[in-house]
């Protein structure tokens, strides 16, 4: 599960990780008022208005009018995903910039052409930056341990640094038996070339960050950039947190942090029924039991000349209700030109799946070819049910036949 920057920073504050003063706002009026009351009148000279979307690359991204597609401007300047406001009436600028950002489209390197609509913004204090660094914590799957990575290349994409100048990334693995140790914090600090007050500020920063990662059951925690201010203090200027979905049950309050505006509406609908659905750009809807088989089925669709419209795993407990909801959601995608149902019955009984498909077809209008492949437990009974229904199915006996039937649709 992903959350916004302002939510991540609120969580980091709980664990004493230094972040700048900030407040989330949902309208231009609120942005102007908060900028005035809580920042400018409290002595702030510089404030930053930051778009809150889940995708990265916001600083270099640009805001476009959601209707006309034109670049948004304030006082002749392009409005970016993140805007630093200084000089003149800063609170009024905050009002104007927030107005230009809200409800419009932010396109960054990660959002693609479609962009993301800005619905929330973070108003934050400016700070005087001496140098930008990078810090992250995540699982190293190759050894089953968490790894802490820091780099002098702040603000850059870490994958790019890893490729071009891997020597500039300093790593420490955490031994689960003893936890993160002081000597490791020192090695990271010396690796960054820190000394004096900067060194002294870094050690508690990284220890608190590691603690937050563990306490929050994160699967990834990234601070990019991590900045050293001109008075030698380390501050998390940005914060990206992904939670381990398997551990959410230990943090029921995290559910409130979910922003469904950032998710595809069909995926949100599917999640209500515990269906594992991911919307893709293709034209063949597919409904499969099991994640591996679902991926293999998507690959097969492509090999056959189509392209998958979705990933949909109906899971092990596929009953009539589940199957018909899955079918309805899959068919809500207007791009779907054909449907492939591929079920391998293990625990799932194919006759039950067949009942579900027929129920679904009675409730959902389907005017595209439906290809069904049932194999495994009670497949014979399931296929008989489909045949006796009088409905129009193309039935495949195995994976290969299913592929051929898909190919025939696109021939």
């Amino acid at each position: 599960m992903k959350i916004h920057e302002y939510q991540a920073k609120d969580l980091l504050r709980r664990y004493d990780v230094p972040v700048l003063k900030g407040k989330v706002v949902f309208s231009a009026e609120e942005a102007g008022r908060i900028a005035h009351e809580e920042f400018i009148s409290q002595g702030s000279k510089v404030i930053v208005v930051k778009s809150q979307i889940h995708a990265g690359g916001r600083g270099k991204g640009t805001i476009y009018d959601v209707n006309t597609g034109n670049e948004m401007q304030v006082e002749g300047k392009t409005v970016k995903g993140v805007n630093v406001l200084v000089g003149g009436n800063v609170a009024d600028k905050a009002f104007q910039y927030a107005g230009a950002m809200l409800g419009n489209k932010l396109i960054t390197i990660q959002t693609g052409e479609a962009g993301s609509i800005v619905r929330r913004m973070l108003i934050e204090d400016g700070c005087s930056i001496a140098k930008e660094y990078y810090a992250s914590i995540l699982l190293d799957r190759t050894c089953g341990k968490n790894i802490i990575m820091v780099s002098t290349e702040g603000g850059m994409e870490i994958e790019k640094v890893a490729e071009e100048t891997p020597e500039r990334i300093i790593k420490e693995h955490v031994d689960p038996k003893i936890g993160f140790q002081d000597f490791q914090a020192r090695r990271l600090a010396f690796g960054l070339g820190l000394s004096g007050d900067a060194f002294k500020s870094f050690i508690p920063f990284i220890k608190k960050l590691v603690n937050a990662y563990y306490e929050l059951d994160c699967s990834m925690l990234e601070i990019n950039p991590l900045v050293l201010t001109t008075d030698n203090k380390f501050v998390a200027l940005d914060a990206k947190i992904n939670f381990d979905d398997n551990a959410i049950y230990r943090h029921p309050e995290f559910i409130d942090l979910r922003d469904i505006d950032e998710e595809d509406p069909l995926e949100v609908e599917a999640s209500k029924f515990d269906l594992n659905y991911i919307k893709l750009d293709g034209n063949v809807g597919c409904m499969v039991n099991g994640a591996g088989l679902a991926m293999a089925t998507m690959d097969m669709i492509q090999n056959a000349g189509g392209s998958p419209a979705n990933f949909l795993d109906v899971g092990g407990g596929a009953n009539v209700e589940r199957i018909s909801n899955a079918f309805r959601i899959m068919m809500s995608d207007p791009n779907v030109k054909a449907v492939l149902i591929n079920i391998f019955g293990g625990i799932v009984r194919c006759d039950k799946v067949a009942d579900g498909i027929i129920t679904a077809l009675k409730n959902v209008k389907v005017d595209v070819p439906v290809i069904v492949r049932l194999d495994g437990t009670n497949a014979v009974e399931g296929l008989a049910t489909l045949k006796n229904s009088g409905m129009d199915f193309k039935v495949a006996a195995n994976f290969e036949e299913a592929a051929n039937l898909v190919a025939a649709v696109f021939a």
Partner: protein, 308 residues
């Protein structure tokens, strides 16, 4: 012959009285698996024969702890069906009680819990398969897990896979072509799992009755690549590979917690390339898995004849 489990394996079921545990214990007993006991803390000293609608072919003694069960039954394997919050504890208990082969079916175990389990596991003699896996089956001898037994057939191909139903698919293709399996190991789709591809490949390589190895991988991580390096250096048996997820978009978790392309790493194309460069035959489409294994086995026969 087989790896990890055979007809002599004595199996415990941790979480036997839960609904999943009950359902699959009945199926395992029916398959002929030597289930010698179950563990449900608080119900030790009783016998359990299932519940309405799911009747065991014979009653199974229930114990309070794995240690009690091992003392009474000399069990050497355990299968875990307990819910995610208690799964790590169940694995650690099995390790502590000296169980040789531990198979954890439970899906949804937090990564933080598995990091501790993995560390303990490395210091022990136990083998863990899973979590979030379908289990292990040696056809005709012993089924420990949730796979449908009837699609399998005893034979010479070792199967290792991160997936459940995709493995059933591949196994069925083999069985339909009259190609049997020595053992099928479902290693699971989580980021931290006890048995990796490389471990399974080592077992199959050392098993004299396994003649070919089928490896079914998917996007995410680098476990397939690591196994491929090992295969290149040490394995002389033919290895056939398939990687699912060629069409999966980056940054999205495809059902399995571990099936994600992150930072441009772990794509199906990279994996297929790595496998091929290590001499592994990579199947393009999932429909051809069975045929590819058959060709490899036929090729094997020809070379043996030539050698004679």
């Amino acid at each position: 012959m087989s790896v990890l489990i055979n007809k002599k394996t004595k199996v415990l079921v941790q979480g036997i009285t839960g609904s999943e545990g009950t359902f699959h214990t009945a199926a395992m007993i029916d398959y002929g698996t030597n289930i010698v006991g179950g563990i449900t803390p608080g119900k030790g000293g009783t016998e359990y024969s299932g519940k309405p609608g799911v009747n065991f072919a014979r009653p199974i003694p229930v114990f309070n702890s794995v240690r009690d069960a091992v003392q009474a039954t000399k069990a050497d394997a355990s299968v875990i069906f307990v819910p995610p919050p208690f799964a790590a504890d169940a694995i650690l208990e099995a390790i502590d009680s000296g169980i040789k082969v531990i198979i954890c079916i439970t899906e949804g175990v937090p990564v933080k819990d598995m990091i501790n389990v993995y560390s303990k596991l490395k210091d022990s003699d136990s083998v863990l398969v899973g979590p979030n896996c379908p289990g292990v089956i040696t056809p005709g001898e012993c089924k420990i897990g949730i796979m449908p037994g009837f699609i399998h057939k005893a034979g010479k191909v070792g199967v290792v896979s991160r997936s459940g139903t995709l493995t059933y698919e591949a196994v069925k293709q083999l069985t339909d072509l009259k190609i049997g399996q020595s053992t099928c190991i479902g290693i699971g789709g989580d980021p931290i799992i006890g048995t990796q591809f490389i471990d399974a490949v080592k077992y199959f390589n050392e098993d004299p009755k396994t003649e070919a190895i089928l490896m079914i991988g998917e996007i995410g991580g680098t476990a397939e690549e690591t196994a491929a390096e090992y295969i290149k250096e040490f394995v002389t048996k033919p290895v056939i590979g398939f990687i699912a997820g060629k069409t999966a978009p980056p940054g999205r978790r495809m059902g399995h917690a571990g099936a994600i392309i992150s930072g441009g790493k772990g794509t199906a194309a990279d994996k297929a390339k790595a496998l091929e460069s290590c001499g592994i035959r990579v199947v393009e489409t999932p429909a051809m898995i069975g045929t590819a294994v058959k060709e490899a086995l036929d090729g094997l026969k020809k070379t043996t004849k030539k050698a004679k």
